[in-house]
Amino acid sequence: MRIVVQEEAFDLGAEANAFAAKDAANGAIVTFTGVVRDLAAGDLDVMEIEHYPGMTERALTKIAEEAQSRWSLGDVLVIHRHGRLAPGDRIMMVATAAPHRKDAFDAAEFLMDYLKSRAPFWKKEITSDGADWVAAKDEDEDALTRW
């Protein structure tokens, strides 16, 4: 299991390759990548991501451990950035490795659902009109009930 919280960009291809090359017992590798989406008007200048150093790493580790206890996983990777990002920049990635694909897919979805509303990150959208904190959505909280 590897948990990374960093400001710098990460190399999606290199990370995915390194993660997938580890253990031939894992017949399934799932990766998910989150990208800064531009606003409908196309005027997002910057997305600022704030986090709670210390708690972030703890929360992500706890979520990844929970995934490992629920599914048969060979490995888990979570990378999440903070700081100032531009539209199109990659914010985060998760990768799961498992002997079988259902475990890898389900665990990746579980990780995404939980880190959306249980990992201490906050997003702020900055446009030429000003800055707005992104509000949490009820559907993100509701998504946790399915697990």
Partner: protein, 81 residues
């Protein structure tokens, strides 16, 4: 104890972190104590349903006791991913 604020809570209160000497028994008591200090605290804590609290970096709730707690953090619902 150290009290930390994040996102719009930090902006509304105007600082990221402060040291608070308190006898508050629970998180709610601490919130009442801070809100009584100044308007900016009262404004930040006006609607507790819009806030989350962590005690020593674990999510908790407003009824939780503060005995032995070293770090309290207040923030809006999280928006990771």
């Amino acid at each position: 104890m150290d009290v930390l604020y994040f996102a719009w809570v930090r902006e509304r209160i105007g600082l990221p972190k402060e040291r608070v000497e308190t006898e508050a028994a629970t998180v709610s008591d601490l919130v009442a104590e801070l809100s009584a200090r100044e308007d900016r605290y009262a404004a930040a804590f006006a609607d507790l349903s819009a806030l989350r609290v962590a005690l020593d970096q674990e999510l908790s709730d407003f009824d939780a006791p503060l005995a032995g707690v070293r770090e309290v953090a207040f923030f809006p619902p999280m928006t990771g991913g």
